[in-house]
């Protein structure tokens, strides 16, 4: 494949050397003890390690390979993921390289059924999505890791045994120089769908297996297609099945074709068999293959994301079908959810039970992602004659009716999870809109007193991504609890609400205040907060009032 060439052309470092570490010489009572070990240097493990390091934690990050994964794999990164990466200092690089898009089109046969815009409104720092090959995302994250001395990233370090203790975990690690032992207070398993740590803790990983096969081909060509997501049901070039076309950087196009359930993978994967199909789709054969992969998938999750002192995140904890960009993006949401909680627990600022809220919030999110992606998959590949008949009726009604269009399911794309969380303080006042507790903070364009144009998400980063009080108007004139960040919109010395969008998006009146968590989620909101109400909401959000037990 030509991927290595592309990577070389773009001078992206993807190959890393094994380096012996002093930990490997320590044995017996002298073995190294770490606070946190993250296993797996994919997008989730890398992002989690950076977030923890930025919060002041020392992190040992292990990966069993010595290079960034092959192929494009995940390509769609959501607005929520970009906002997280902004907080990690890598958002600009991702967006500069990525292909920005927000429009999708759905076709049936050769006719367009409808189009949708995932971010129809202005005034957000980040777009609905970018498309970016996963290896670029990983390479940029590794560059960031290398700027952070508190992360020790060790390639070709493979965990081969795990032992749970009361106060931590002991890991046996295999390297080119043999085995060594380390201990950690917590181990975070980000080691992917085939997680070996999941096997080591003896966890079940069951769910629904889909029999349909899909073929991914990334092809290189110059084409004039717009940067939109195009999805076909029963296209003229691939009768009776579905197809997807999507642009990536470097003139690479992702093509996803549904195959027959009984197709022979070895045969289907041969470039000479793939080429005619794609030539029919594109109407020409002036393209080169970058990557071809054939896959089936499962929708499943672990019953518990926490096993003693081992915590699972990303594909290791849950797997979905790829339609909806809910794999990597949900893994990144796991990372942002876990990092601040683990940081607080390691500092002794919150009880260990705070981590339970990670399981509560993120396993519910996994259920939702599985439900959505399973529905999309069932719509694309009906399981019975009657399901096929209902789908046919929907596709046909979509040509004439709005409700029909809305029922056509060619993938429901990842949106930030909304948490029904024990950490949230339920609304006490009347609200006409705005983000309710458990919702991620909406962005809005604002300006500093100097006139400098920026976004609300920038102001949140400016406060150090900690618990932050977002106030409107002249504020509640309540002394906020100590240690809280503060963003004030309006009033004498606050940020200027450039287009009135911050006020509108937060249903704000003078005195309105939102309490934001370190991951940018709303945890409580008040029309006129009192000191006591803020303290109670904060205690609840950090697990200090016993609601988690």
């Amino acid at each position: 494949m030509a991927q290595a060439e592309t990577q070389a052309r773009n001078q992206t470092k993807t190959q890393f050397g094994y380096r012996r570490h002093a930990d490997q010489d320590r044995t017996g009572a002298d073995i190294a003890v770490h606070q946190v070990i993250v296993v797996g240097a994919g997008p989730v493990g890398l992002s989690l390690a950076i977030d923890l390091a930025q919060r002041g934690q020392d992190v040992l990050l292990l990966d069993d390979a010595d290079r960034i994964g092959e192929g494009s794999r995940a390509i769609c990164f959501s607005k929520r993921s970009l906002e997280f990466w902004d907080r990690l200092g890598v958002g600009d690089r991702m967006v500069d390289k990525g292909v920005v898009w927000s429009v999708g089109r759905i076709f049936h046969g050769d006719q367009q059924l409808y189009q949708f815009n995932l971010l129809p409104e202005q005034g957000h720092k980040r777009p609905a999505f970018i498309n970016l090959q996963q290896f670029y995302a990983e390479a940029y994250l590794v560059d960031r890791v290398e700027q952070l001395p508190s992360i020790s990233l060790r390639w070709r370090n493979k965990v081969v045994a795990l032992e749970q203790r009361n106060d931590g975990v002991a890991l046996t690690i295999d390297t080119p120089d043999g085995h060594y032992l380390v201990r950690a207070a917590y181990v975070i398993a980000c080691d992917g769908a085939r997680s070996s740590l999941r096997r080591m803790v003896g966890a079940e990983f069951s769910g629904q297996v889909f029999e349909d096969q899909f073929l991914i081909a990334d092809v290189k060509m110059t084409a004039e297609f717009p940067t939109e997501r195009w999805f076909w049901f029963d296209p003229p070039f691939h009768a009776g099945r579905s197809a997807l076309l999507h642009k990536q950087p470097d003139d690479i196009w992702r093509i996803d074709l549904q195959l027959n359930r009984y197709a022979d993978p070895a045969v289907e994967k041969q470039p000479e068999n793939v080429r005619p199909r794609i030539a029919r789709m594109l109407g020409h054969d002036k393209f080169e293959f970058e990557w071809i992969s054939l896959y089936k998938f499962q929708c499943r999750r672990m019953d518990r994301f926490i096993h003693g002192r081992v915590i699972f995140a990303g594909d290791a904890a849950h797997q979905v079908s790829p339609f909806g960009a809910r794999g990597a993006n949900s893994g990144l949401e796991d990372a942002e959810n876990l990092a601040w909680k683990l940081d607080r627990v390691l500092r002794g600022q919150s009880p260990e039970m705070l981590l339970e809220s990670y399981h509560v919030e993120r396993s519910a999110a996994a259920d939702e992602n599985i439900r959505e992606s399973t529905r999309s998959t069932d719509f694309m590949a009906p399981n019975s004659h009657q399901e096929a008949r209902l789908r046919k009726a929907v596709l046909s009604l979509a040509k004439e009716t709005e409700f029909g269009k809305r029922m056509v399911n060619g993938g429901r794309l990842s949106v930030p999870s909304i948490y029904e969380s024990p950490l949230s303080t339920p609304d006490g006042q009347d609200w006409r809109g705005g983000p309710r507790p458990g919702t991620s903070m909406p962005d809005a364009p604002i300006a500093a007193q100097s006139g400098h144009a920026m976004f609300l998400t920038d102001a949140f980063i400016g406060q150090g991504t900690r618990f932050t009080l977002l106030e409107f108007g002249n504020g509640a004139s309540v002394a906020a609890p100590e240690g809280l960040g503060a963003i004030r919109i309006g009033g004498q010395d606050g940020f200027v609400d450039r287009d009135g969008l911050a006020t509108a998006r937060y249903d704000a009146e003078p005195g309105t205040a939102y309490l934001l968590r370190p991951d940018g989620y709303v945890t409580a909101r008040f029309r006129h907060p009192t000191r006591g109400a803020l303290e109670a909401a904060l205690a609840r959000a950090v697990g200090l009032n016993g609601r988690l037990s």
């Binding site: 009657q386 209902l390 046919k392 929907v394 009604l397 009716t401």
Partner: protein, 75 residues
């Protein structure tokens, strides 16, 4: 709002007749296609997931009744 099972049409025979006539001259396959479209159109018109679920439950009771009848005949 619960599912209404009282008689809502002033002339119920007209409603039944209209559905019957829509199927006239169709093959079983075409009839099934027509029903599928009709169900989706009517479900959207109702626009209430609870009412729809009740309607599905009421309709599904016929399947259970039919199963039991079949079992009794076999005994």
């Amino acid at each position: 709002m619960p599912l209404s099972t009282s008689s809502n049409f002033a002339r119920p025979d007209d409603a039944f007749r209209a559905i019957v006539e829509a199927h006239r001259g169709l093959t079983d396959e075409q009839s099934a296609d027509l029903d599928a479209a009709l169900v989706l159109i009517l479900a959207n018109h109702i626009g209430d997931i609870d009412v729809l679920s009740e309607a599905i439950a009421l309709a599904s009771r016929r399947m259970i009744a039919a199963d039991q009848q079949q079992q009794q005949q076999q005994q």
